[in-house]
Each structure stands twice: as structure tokens, then as C-alpha cells.
Amino acid sequence: MTQQQAYRTPPWKKQIQSLIRVSIALICAFVVALIYLTYSAKLSEVRLNIQEAHAKRNDLMRQIAEYQTRTGALTSFDAMRRRAEQSGYVDIDFYDDATYVYIPLNGYDPHARFSGADLFYPSTPPASPLRPEYTISLQYFLRQRLIQSPYKRGQE
């Protein structure tokens, strides 16, 4: 003969216990889902911001490069020269006595020469080591020696 329990949990109590268990499980699941979704949303927002920042940074980098180059174009040599000329500036002229004042230095000799090396002086008149026949043109040689008559050469 099997032994039986004297009292049993009433059915309504069992149902309530079951409901509480299910509710706790649901609440836990809900809390987990809530936390998950909250952070997911935050992550999504942050990620979107990062992507926007990314695009913005690329755009800014391009703009900075563009502005640097525009500045470069505005200050390019030709542009600056043109603007300087339009503004009345002229090139430096060191020969312009009206603009520059030169102060002579006492004891300075502008004609002082270097003593370590010889000065250059033209030497004896240059002489060719070659006979004239080798230095004159064939045309001249023929005219002198063959075409012109001995009488005429004699006159010269």
C-alpha cells in the first residue's frame, strides 16, 4: 500500500505559484530585452554619429586641402607679381641712386687684387703652329695660288 500525503497544495495556490514563476521569468526576460534594446539603440546612435563624423571629417579634409590650394593659387608667383605691379611696386634696381644710399668704407680698396695668383696679362700675339696652308680655307688657297695671275700677285 502506498503512502499518501496528508495535505495537498490547493489548486489555486498552485496556479498562483505558476503565474508568479512565469511572471518572474517574463519580467527577467523583459528586463534583459530592455537592457539589450536600450544599449542597442545607444550603440546604433553612436555608430550613426561615428559614421556622420567620418563623412564630415572626409569632407572637411577635402575642404582644407581645397582651401590650402586656393590660398596657394592666390599667392602663386604670377598672381602675387601681378598684384604687386598693380599696387605700384617695382623690381629692385640696385643701380638706382635715388633709392639706395651707399656708404663708402674707410680703407676699403675695391681694386684690391688677389695676391696668391698671377694676374692675367695677354701674352705675345697668338701664333699658329700650323703652316698657313693648314689654316686657310681651300677656296682662299685656290684663289690665291691658282686663279689669281702671278702678275697680279706681284702687284699686291
Binding site: D59, G72, D118, L119, F120, S123
Partner: protein, 602 residues
């Protein structure tokens, strides 16, 4: 009871078997390579998107910080074929006047049939300007706000407007056009895969180059992504001064045009630091139209002859022979050479350039008359072994190592090499039979101008990285001759210049220099007399040299002599450049210059 227990065990066994199979299958799926590849592929295509992130190319500046090479934005205008099909008429009507393209062309583009994943969009204009893009936006805004009578028409217009889009592109831009183009080189922005060509652009391509980073971004918003690290590209600051560069370029252009030369080159260097202050060549190209380079430059007329084109410099080389003779002790400054007009070697005769005998000559006279015979005698006195040792000490046997791409050099023959004969030594002594580039000459002559200390020529002053700046300090690379010899050579060449090339003299400053007219050897003909390379090298002030300047005209046809074309070019150049080099100017000497020149005893 037994049946129940048996059935229960069967059920447990079945469940365990199913669980085992599932676990086994899961494990096999997670370790099988083919499955993993397929899974990864699916994930890549469905869960990630790839974005390309570009950094722009580094800038190039002159020594004062003026921009020489930068980046700018241009736009590519696209048509979305899915939206444009059937609406070509409307799109063409409002885009044509803005983009300057005829309506028919745009209409054809718009009606290219849309094919999913294959023909989605079509670019209708590259390099559209910001102004054009602004006009498109304004036009779109105007059309979108236009009051229409029917909702359908309104949505049609919106659809047509959305068919037009644009994407920005960064591309290389050179604000100064052709200024210093031979130094900068170019980056072919229309065909970037071809890579940078010549000059700084090519030499420093690895640190200047724009990097494209392909970054995979997860589509799942729960997977947080960080921005990829974008290294900022280095900017390069050059040693050249754009004012001096522009003067040099104007001078060389005028000289090449006037003398109808093939090309021309000028280099100005500070011998104390090795900094290149100007390196001008002509012809040049506008770097924004870099495709011209294929037609302007040839094998005989390089992009930057200063570093890329070795040639026989002729008598300019005598500066080295003189230096070697004096430094080695083979000759003394007060020696006298009796020039009989010829110098015989192994039965072969060497003549002077003018085939004239000048009689007894001091060393100064030898240089003033530019005597080939005297140089041959000096080289013979020095001896072949020591002569070539000195040439090596002057680094004439190697490229200079300047920071410019495609530098070339031409190795000369030495005793023991095939092709070297006893005639080679005297020939080399006056600059025939060996070839050097202008930058090699400037580097070596810089040693004479800098008390014998040879500095490394450099054209980069600093490189500005993202986190630090690398400054290029002056660097001594050798001392081929003593300081005494260097000063003596400078004095001799200062005095001799008056006799050799008065046209090279600069009012207000003592200059040391030497002209050179190198004949050009043509295959099958040998040396021809009507084609020459006319050169001049000068440095000053002779008392304490602050610059070395080299001028070279390739094959001038107006006048072929270095003393007649390259020397006056040097004088004109230095007259104009001197104020910008901040070199003291002797006005008293300048005032007396003309009178002084006329009262010389010759």
C-alpha cells in the same frame, strides 16, 4: 512497469542520439573549411559594407612656405539609370547649359538601359567644378519648389532630379603651373595607377602618396565600429626660393629662345650648406597639363637635364685639373708653361681649342686661354693613378644622391678599363671623353668654393610628418682638396676670368669662373664642330663664396661658344639674383667696373 522503464530508456536514448547528431553536426559545420568560407562570404555580402576612405597627397612647399603642389576637389556628375531611363529629355534640358554638354549627349547617357547590378549609373562629366555643382543644386531646388498642378507631375520631377548625383574627388593641383616643374615632377591625377613621375613627386612617392583604406563596416548596428586610422601624409619643404627660381627660369627661357638651343639648365647652390637655391630648365611643362611631357621631352632632351642628362662639359672640367695639379704638388701657382700649340701623346697630337700657340703662360694664363695643351701637361705631371683618385674624391664617378628621381650618371673609363688609352688622360683633363651631369659638377665645384669641403647637395629642407618634422641638415661628404688649394684655385680663376670671359663678370663682386664648350660626338661622325654644349660655372664672392652657379645651353645655334652664350647668361642671372641671395654688394667696385675693365693693360 518494465515496459514503461524500457520505453523511457528508448526515449532517453533517442533524445541523446538526436542531441549527439546535432552537436556533431554543429561542430562539423564550425570546423569545415568549405562551410566556413561559404558562411564568411554570405556574411560579408549581407552583413557588411565596404567603404573606401581616402587621404589626400602630401603638399610640396618652397623654402618660404609657398605652395608648389597641393590638392583640390573636382566632382564627377553621375546619372542613376534606374531613375533617368525615360526622363532623358527633362534631365538634358536642365543639365546641358550647366555642364556645357550638348543635350543630345546627355539624353543618350540618360537612356542607357538600366541593368540590375551591371548598368546602374553612368558618369556624364568628370572634373566638374564647385560652381557647376552649386548651379545643379540651385536648379534642383528651384525645380523641386516649383508649383505644379498635379501630384504625379510633382513626383515625376522629383524622380528626375534624384537621377542626378555627384561625388567629390580629390586630385593633384599645381598652383604655379610650370614653376619648378622640373624639380617637382608630377602625379598623373587622370590615371593615378600610373604612379608619380620624376622629381620630388616620384622620389618621395611613398611618403607623399595618398592612401586608400578599404574599411568594412558592419550593417548590424549592434556591432560598434571605430574609425580607421588615417595617417596624414607628409608635406615636403624644398630649399629652393621661388623668386630666385623664377628669375633663373626666365633667364634660361630667354637664353634658349635667343640662341635657338635645344635646352638649357641653370643650377644655383649654396656651397656652405649644399642647399639648391634654384634649378631651372627649359623647356618645361605646365604640370596641370602633364600629358605634354610625352611630346616635349625626348631621349636627348630630358625632363630635368640637371640630374638626368650627362654630357661632355668641355673646358669647365679644367677647374678640376687645375685643382688636382695644385693640390697634388705637381704644379706650383707660379709655374710657367710654354705653349707650342700642341701636345703629343703616343704619336697623337692634342691641339688647343683655337689651334693656336700662346707661348709662355702662367697658370692663370693657361686658364684664361683655356689651353688644352697646358691641362694635358698638368694631368701628365700628376700621373694617371693620382688624377683618377682625385676624380673619385670629387665624387665624379657616382650619382650625387640628390633627392630627385631618375638621377643618372655616366661612368668614365679609368686605367685598366676596356677603352682606356694613354690619350684618355689628357682628353679627360680638358673635359673630353667623360660625361657628367650639371648637378655632379655643382657638387664637386662646391668643394672648391667651400675651402675644399664638399657638401651633399640637397633640395629638401624638411619633411613634415604627422607627429614630427625631419630637418635635413647640411652634410659634408668629403674633402677632395685642401683649403689652401681651394682658395688658390678661386684666386686664379678670379684673375683668369677677366682674360677668358669678361662677359661673365658681375659688377659689384669678384667672381671665379670657367667657361666650357664641349663638342658633341655623333655616332658614325665623331666630334662635330657645329654642335656644342656651352657651359659656364662661376662662384662668388671670391673672397668668401656664397653661391655656385652653373649655366648650360645644349646645342645653341646662334653662337656655339660657352664664353659667348653661357658666360653672359651667368652674369645676367647673378645681377638679378644677387639681391635675393642677400650677398653684400660692392657698389664702389660696381661704379668703377666699366672704367676698370677698359683700363686693363691688354
Amino acid at each position: 512497469m518494465i515496459n514503461f522503464r524500457k520505453n523511457f530508456l528508448i526515449c532517453i536514448g533517442a533524445v541523446a542520439a538526436v542531441v549527439f547528431v546535432i552537436v556533431f553536426h554543429m561542430l562539423s559545420l564550425q570546423t569545415n573549411a568549405a562551410v566556413l568560407t561559404l558562411t564568411d562570404k554570405i556574411r560579408q555580402e549581407t552583413e557588411y559594407t565596404t567603404l573606401s576612405v581616402n587621404t589626400e597627397r602630401g603638399n610640396i612647399y618652397d623654402r618660404s612656405g609657398y605652395l608648389l603642389a597641393g590638392n583640390t576637389i573636382a566632382y564627377t556628375v553621375l546619372l542613376d539609370l534606374n531613375l533617368s531611363n525615360g526622363n532623358g529629355e527633362f534631365i538634358a534640358e536642365y543639365l546641358a547649359p550647366i555642364l556645357g554638354i550638348d543635350e543630345e549627349t546627355i539624353r543618350k547617357f540618360a537612356e542607357i538601359p538600366y541593368v540590375e547590378k551591371r548598368a546602374v549609373s553612368v558618369p556624364i562629366k568628370n572634373f566638374a567644378s564647385r560652381q557647376q555643382i552649386d548651379q545643379i543644386d540651385q536648379r534642383k531646388a528651384f525645380l523641386a519648389e516649383r508649383k505644379t498642378t498635379s501630384l504625379r507631375t510633382k513626383s515625376e520631377i522629383q524622380k528626375n532630379l534624384n537621377a542626378v548625383s555627384y561625388i567629390p574627388n580629390v586630385y593633384r593641383y599645381y598652383p604655379n603651373g610650370s614653376l619648378a616643374s622640373n624639380i617637382i615632377g608630377f602625379f598623373p591625377f587622370l590615371n593615378p595607377s600610373a604612379g608619380a613621375a620624376y622629381g620630388i613627386e616620384s622620389y618621395f612617392d611613398d611618403i607623399l602618396s595618398a592612401e586608400t583604406i578599404h574599411k568594412k563596416f558592419a550593417l548590424d548596428p549592434n556591432i560598434p565600429e571605430v574609425l580607421p586610422y588615417l595617417p596624414a601624409n607628409a608635406s615636403i619643404h624644398l630649399t629652393i626660393d621661388r623668386k630666385i627660381q623664377s628669375i633663373a627660369e626666365a633667364q634660361i627661357e630667354a637664353a634658349v629662345t635667343h640662341q635657338r638651343a635645344k635646352s638649357g639648365t641653370i643650377i644655383i647652390m649654396d656651397p656652405e650648406t649644399g642647399e639648391i637655391q634654384a634649378m631651372a630648365t627649359f623647356p618645361r611643362i605646365n604640370l596641370n597639363n602633364y600629358s605634354e611631357s610625352s611630346t616635349v621631352f625626348t631621349r636627348d632632351n630630358r625632363f630635368n637635364p640637371a640630374v638626368m642628362q650627362p654630357y661632355e662639359v668641355g673646358s669647365v672640367f679644367k677647374v678640376f685639373t687645375l685643382s688636382i695639379g695644385l693640390d697634388s704638388g705637381a704644379i706650383k701657382p707660379n709655374d710657367v708653361y710654354n705653349d707650342i700649340g700642341t701636345f703629343d701623346v703616343d704619336g697623337q697630337t692634342i691641339y688647343n681649342w683655337n689651334r693656336i700657340a700662346s707661348g709662355p703662360q702662367s697658370i692663370t694664363g693657361c686658364m684664361a686661354h683655356s689651353l688644352n695643351t697646358c691641362m694635358s701637361w698638368i694631368a701628365t705631371e700628376v700621373g694617371k693613378t693620382r688624377f683618377y683618385e682625385y676624380l673619385r674624391a670629387f665624387h665624379l664617378d657616382r650619382p650625387t644622391g640628390i633627392e630627385l628621381a631618375n638621377e643618372e650618371y655616366y661612368p668614365y673609363v679609368e686605367p685598366g678599363d676596356i677603352g682606356w688609352t694613354n690619350l684618355s688622360l689628357p682628353n679627360h683633363s680638358f673635359g673630353q671623353g667623360l660625361m657628367t651631369t650639371p648637378i655632379q659638377m655643382v657638387k664637386a665645384i662646391g668643394a672648391i668654393a667651400n675651402d675644399g669641403v664638399m657638401m651633399q647637395p640637397h633640395i629638401v629642407k624638411a619633411i613634415e610628418y604627422e607627429d614630427h618634422t625631419e630637418v635635413f641638415d647640411p652634410k659634408a661628404v668629403g674633402q677632395p682638396i685642401s683649403a689652401e688649394t681651394a682658395r688658390l684655385v678661386t684666386e686664379i680663376l678670379t684673375n683668369s676670368l677677366e682674360g677668358e670671359a669678361e662677359k661673365a663678370m658681375v659688377p659689384g663682386m669678384h667672381i671665379a669662373g670657367k667657361t666650357g664648350t664641349g663638342e658633341i660626338a655623333i655616332e658614325g661622325l665623331g666630334y662635330v664642330t657645329d654642335k656644342t654644349n656651352a657651359s659656364f660655372v662661376g662662384w662668388g664672392p671670391s673672397e668668401d663664396p656664397k653661391f655656385v652657379a652653373y649655366t648650360w645651353l645644349q646645342e645653341p645655334t646662334g653662337n656655339i661658344w660657352g664664353s659667348e652664350v653661357a658666360a653672359p647668361l651667368f652674369a645676367d642671372l647673378m645681377n638679378e639674383v644677387m639681391p635675393y641671395l642677400r650677398i653684400p654688394y660692392d657698389r664702389q667696385y660696381a661704379n668703377d667696373f666699366a672704367f676698370y675693365a677698359w683700363t686693363q693693360p691688354y
